[in-house]
């Protein structure tokens, strides 16, 4: 299996002058293609910071990050933007759908950025909406959907461009536990059927148990890296 993510000695410091917060302290991590990995840890442990750095949304203070063999920490903004568009899907805690676009258009958005032709876009978006269980709701705006349905749109948006990696930051935090479970089942199914690599952060123990690999962070360091059943 190919390496999708390789994080080497990544540190991230915030603040200026005398008050410096060490959000990450020398993190090393490798994710192989097709992994379904959960990151857990208390608030401030560095989960979101690590996801942001892997996703190219933030730059580390030191260390390197390779996505499919490309070192991204020193890439100029436009190239980094292209890697995010083509190789990484994002699922956010608060859904972050574009409110003026319908479910279909939200899922279609990145495909349009990629200049995928219209016929293919329609076919692919309809397929992923069907896969996430939103058939018939494609013309609804986010405000017309429940929280769980909105997160399904966000998942559809993340997987429609067929990325190598999907990063999900607390994807079940804003939905009830039953919806959270069904979202996790959906992501697990997509991982198994499509081979998409997932890395998500969570506080929810039930969610952690759905992962095949669990990484625990504390004070900006990985303190455990194991399968959930070994917890």
């Amino acid at each position: 299996m190919a390496k999708i993510v390789e994080v080497s000695s990544v540190a991230k410091d915030y603040g200026e002058g005398g008050i410096i917060t060490h959000a990450l302290r020398g993190v090393d991590l490798v994710l192989m293609a097709g992994e379904f990995t959960s990151m857990a840890g208390p608030s401030g442990s560095g989960k979101t910071t690590l996801l942001n750095i892997i996703g190219g949304l933030d730059r580390p203070s030191s260390g390197t990050v390779h996505i499919e063999g490309i070192e991204i920490t020193q890439l100029p903004g436009t190239q980094l933007s292209r890697i995010r568009r083509d190789r990484i899907g994002f699922i956010f805690q608060s859904f972050n759908l574009i409110p003026v676009l319908t479910a279909f258009e939200n899922a279609e958005y990145v495909l349009m950025l990629q200049n995928v032709d219209k016929e293919q876009r329609v076919e692919r978006v309809m397929r992923v909406l069907r896969e996430v269980g939103l058939e018939g709701l494609e013309h609804r705006f986010p405000r017309e959907l429940s929280g769980g349905q909105q997160q399904r749109v966000a998942i559809a948006r993340a997987i429609a461009p067929e990325p190598a990696l999907v990063l999900a930051d607390e994807p079940t935090a804003n939905v009830d536990s039953e919806t959270g479970r069904s979202l996790m089942e959906l992501m697990r199914r997509l991982n198994e059927e499509k081979g998409i690599t997932f890395l998500f952060s969570t506080h929810d123990r039930a969610v952690m148990e759905r992962a095949r690999r669990l990484i625990k962070l504390r004070d900006g360091q990985i303190i455990e890296d194991t399968e959930p059943r070994n917890l």
Binding site: T49, D58, N96, L101
Partner: protein, 408 residues
């Protein structure tokens, strides 16, 4: 996608968008309406002045403006006017013979400006011929007849048919006295004109001032369209080559009117500029607010791989939509109001005192606007251009969005 996102985004906050569009629209309406109104007043004044005096273009002795004297005349005017009237843009030519003198009656003497005119031409062109309040205007066949202003008639205690003696110097430097009778009294609304001007037929004027049959002080050219002035001057200039004749625009003949208009245009421009700045601040505030409110959304779009230039493009389209819709509404509203005022006019007699003059020429109490395409294009273009320029400021904010911090 840019256009779809922009269009839906501007209608996300309908009230704010409508307020911004209304600001643009009202600002533009006021600017167009008042500019057309002021231009209408200027057009009326200029039109009356040039028709009463020596036209849009005047041919005269090159030294006449610096030292107006009766001996500074031009010759060969009949041939010249025939050729000039052959130019398509020319409506009419008119001859004027000017001189100064003293008008005497039993009640005393008053210094006057004597204007020799062709009555049939003046009847067609000059507003003064329509301002007769007693008696009648001159006829081409009249001899030793005058029309004079109401104030002058009061000063000299003259009535219709009264005798009046004109004393003046002719072109040969001799003292001349002519007995005339009052045929008509005019009131233009200008104290200067009504108290100082006497009109006499041109044939009589030539005799009084000692000018030949083919001579005049000025040959005035009235145009069908004032905008053709420069073209017609260019066409006339070769006709007088080698002759001692200057071809001048009305702005050189009536410099005080031209200066007044320039001054008022400038002050009007400053006033409208200030109004415009206030409106621009409203627009800038709205555009900035709409970006600040959506910073998280922009961060998401950037996270998904949207190029910064595409987001800038989206903001530009949003600004353009708001500016175009607001601008279009303002142009339609301002243009319609100005057009209505142009067609029907506005009678200000109840609030505007009679006798208001600009550089000695009476302003009519019924005001008509003058809406021209350049007023719409220029003002509309400036508003549109300025709004689009303003959109660059909110665009800069997008480049400052830190994705991770904004999404935290």
């Amino acid at each position: 996608m840019i256009v779809r996102l922009a269009w839906r985004s501007i209608w996300r906050n309908k009230r704010r968008t409508l307020i911004t569009m209304t600001s643009i629209s009202l600002g533009l309406t006021i600017a167009i309406f008042f500019t057309a109104l002021v231009e209408g007043v200027f057009r009326q004044v200029v039109n009356e002045a040039i028709r009463m005096q020596a036209g849009h273009i005047t041919l005269e002795n090159p030294e006449y403006q610096t030292s107006p004297a009766v001996d500074l005349r031009i010759g060969g005017v009949e041939n010249l006017r025939r050729r000039i009237e052959g130019i398509e843009a020319v409506e009419q030519t008119k001859l004027l013979i000017w001189g100064q003198g003293v008008a005497n009656s039993g009640a005393g003497g008053v210094g006057v400006m004597v204007m020799g005119v062709e009555p049939s031409v003046e009847m067609k062109t000059s507003p003064l011929a329509q301002d007769i309040v007693a008696g009648a205007y001159l006829a081409d066949s009249d001899d030793r007849m005058v029309v004079l202003g109401g104030h002058l008639a009061e000063q000299l205690k003259l009535k219709l048919g009264s005798k009046i003696v004109l004393t003046t110097n002719n072109a040969q430097g001799q003292l001349v006295e002519e007995l005339c009778r009052v045929k008509g009294i005019f009131r233009t609304g200008s104290d200067e004109i009504d108290g100082y001007l006497i009109q006499i037929p041109a044939t009589f004027a030539r005799r009084v001032f000692g000018l030949g049959d083919d001579e005049a002080t000025q040959l005035g050219v009235i145009l069908k369209r004032p905008g053709d002035q420069a073209v017609v001057i260019d066409a006339i200039t070769p006709m007088v080559a080698g002759k001692d004749i200057a071809v001048l625009p009305w702005q050189s003949i009536l410099p005080e009117v031209a200066s007044f208009i320039r001054l008022r245009r400038t002050s009007n421009g400053v006033f409208q500029g200030l109004l415009f700045v206030i409106i621009l601040f409203t627009i800038l505030n709205t555009l900035l607010m709409s970006v600040i409110e959506r910073e998280r959304e922009f961060a998401v779009l950037l996270a998904l791989g949207t190029p910064v230039r595409q987001l800038k493009g989206q903001l530009f389209v949003e600004s353009a939509c708001i500016a175009c819709l607001g601008g279009l509404a303002g142009m339609v509203l301002g243009g319609s109001l100005a057009l209505a005022l142009q067609i029907w006019g506005l009678d200000l007699a109840s609030i505007m005192p009679k006798g208001v003059t600009i550089s000695g020429f009476a302003v009519s109490t019924t005001i008509h606007a003058n809406l021209t395409p350049p007023i719409l294009y220029w003002i509309g273009g400036i508003v549109l251009g300025a709004t689009l320029l303003l959109s660059f400021m909110p665009m800069r904010r997008i480049t400052q969005v830190h994705i991770a911090e904004t999404l935290r």
